[in-house]
Amino acid sequence: MTDPLLSIRDLTVRVGKRADAPSILDKVSLDLMPGETLGLVGESGSGKSTLGMSVLRLTSPTLTAGTTGRIAWKGDDILTMPNRKLRHIRGEEISMILQDPMASLNPVQSIGTQLQEALRRGGKRNLSAAAEAALSEVNIPSPAERLRAFPHQMSGGMRQRIVSAIGLAQDPELLICDEPTTALDATIQYQFLELLKALRAAHHMAMLFITHDFGVVARICDRVAVMYAGRIVETGPVAEIFARPAHPYTKALLASVPSTGHAPHRLPVIEGAPPAVGHRPEGCPFHPRCAAASAHCRQAPPRTELRPGHTLNCWHPQEHPHEIA
């Protein structure tokens, strides 16, 4: 068996240094194999973006100070490595696409300047030719012209493709995508996901795909980890999770996804709201909203491996197969 590319163990992120400070992430562990795409699914505030930012040590200073655990990149701990070494991992080995294409490009620099800055770091020689090629790769028409343009002159879909070109400029081995399709129109979303799949194949990259959308997970991910209130509650291969979700939260989440081919009906909802950071309950964080909850659930749930690769943290795994429409 090959070693994982990225291996996160007991990653805890607190708001500040104190041991009793509220935590955003609570002992999160996951592995990512070379070339694999792992989806991180959860509601807003579940900590999935913080997890993504932590991998590049890009969280705010308060959170960085409150980060414990281990994020091993090819065996080296990102959390403790010197800045100089980290800078060479950023962009060159691990890159990232941010959520908001309208905000993630520098408004006063031309597209060419911003793209070439990344290409130069990637050791490219003929920068303008490389920049044109990079824009062509993400399907930007008339790239030579676009290099002289500024971000405000472009649509959201085009900007997100340029952000991807910047992310890929140094040929990284892992691309973290933080809800890259959330700010895009539905049709553009589909195009962009297809583009990402093509780029993933061309660059032989692994991906960490952060999203709240199971539809996106089904389209692009190999495995999925479901997050709730700063913890991973269930993880497994995408097909397995869709067919046999075992955690009550995953089941409820999947049941609330609208599907076509049905007469319109009221979608089931999960009663209540996720707990805020600092107000998370003891034991399983989902138990106040869980239909299957019992007195056990006030204690930390055990980790169960249902099938190879399919694990969950729950006192009451829902074993019966989920009906798929």
């Binding site: 800078r87 962009g91 993630s104 490009l105 620099q109 800055e117």
Partner: protein, 307 residues
């Protein structure tokens, strides 16, 4: 681009024309020039003669047109004080002292203000940040006449390092430029600190860090360019502060510029000179705003697209 510039120039001319009207009207309202010019022993006949001579028997619009025509020819009348000097000539002869002082103060203010602002933002929450913020707060709250006197007391009287006042070589510039610039310096520092913090927290700075760009390049190449946009916006206002501040600072430091000239001519009720000073300042003000517009085009591509 050229069309935009031509438009701004036309606006500037209209503003100047309006200002001349305001100045003309104000000078008619504020005082009676005849009473001011006549000596105590003048007779009614002298009075009538002077009125005719000055054209004050003409209707108001005619007087304004005459004023405007003369102004275009560079004739703003004579100073009413003993010398009877040509008003425009008098103002222009005082201009270099004022411009050099304001220029040095503005340059010093910009360089130090931006440096301090960036320093405070980068070291946010540390002692350095706190010190800069405290300094900026003091700089914005200290009135310049008091500050000028305190600086003279400390550096000229107590320590004897610098001259108390007057006009001359580089050493004469230090205290007045400091006094004139401190308020603006504090304002720029606070402005740069705030906009720098905003830029440093932005998504595009995050993307620059994701690229692996060094912290220096993140600050200088990505954050600074964006955080200077509000500074450019306020440049016109800063210039205005310098000009109005000049009246006080030049008086405190006996600086032979138009600020002190304005003060002296107001005290002497020397209307032709007051009018000329105000008009010249207005012209510079409009010029400064034109320069700000051009700077804007240079620094922000979004403005280029709009114009």
């Amino acid at each position: 681009m050229l069309k935009h510039l031509a438009g701004r120039l036309a606006e500037a001319l209209v503003a100047l024309l309006l200002m001349s009207l305001v100045i003309f009207l104000l000078s008619r309202v504020i005082g009676d020039p005849v009473a001011l010019l006549l000596s105590d022993s003048a007779t009614e006949a002298d009075r009538q003669m002077l009125i005719a001579q000055l054209g004050l028997d003409q209707p108001g619009w005619r007087q304004y047109l005459t004023f405007l025509g003369n102004a275009l020819k560079g004739d703003f009348g004579q100073s009413v004080t003993a010398g009877r000097e040509d008003a425009l000539h008098l103002v222009l002869s005082r201009l270099p002292a004022s411009l050099s002082l304001a220029g040095i103060a503005l340059l010093f203010t910009l360089v130090v203000g931006i440096l301090l602002g960036v320093l405070a933002a980068v070291t946010r929450g540390t002692v350095a940040d706190l010190a800069v913020r405290l300094l900026a707060l003091l700089g914005q709250s200290a009135p310049s006449f008091w500050l000028g006197i305190m600086l003279i007391y400390l550096f000229a009287v107590k320590l004897g390092w610098l001259p108390t006042s007057g006009f001359g070589g580089a050493v004469y510039y230090v205290l007045p430029a400091l006094t004139l610039g401190l308020f603006t310096l504090a304002a720029i520092t606070r402005l740069v600190r705030a906009s720098m913090l905003e830029a440093l927290g932005s998504e595009y700075v995050k993307l620059a860090r994701i690229k692996g760009v060094s912290e220096w390049a993140v600050v200088l190449r990505h954050a600074l360019g964006n955080s200077l946009i509000p500074v450019v916006t306020f440049m016109g206002t800063f210039f205005a502060t310098m000009i109005t501040g000049a009246v006080v600072v030049e008086t405190v430091f006996a600086w032979p510029g138009i600020g002190r000239l304005a003060y002296e001519s107001i005290m002497a009720r020397d209307f032709p000179v007051i009018q000329t000073v105000v008009l010249v300042i207005t012209a510079f003000f409009i010029l400064a705003n034109l320069i700000v517009d051009l700077l804007y085009l240079a620094i922000d591509p979004r403005m280029r697209a709009r114009s």
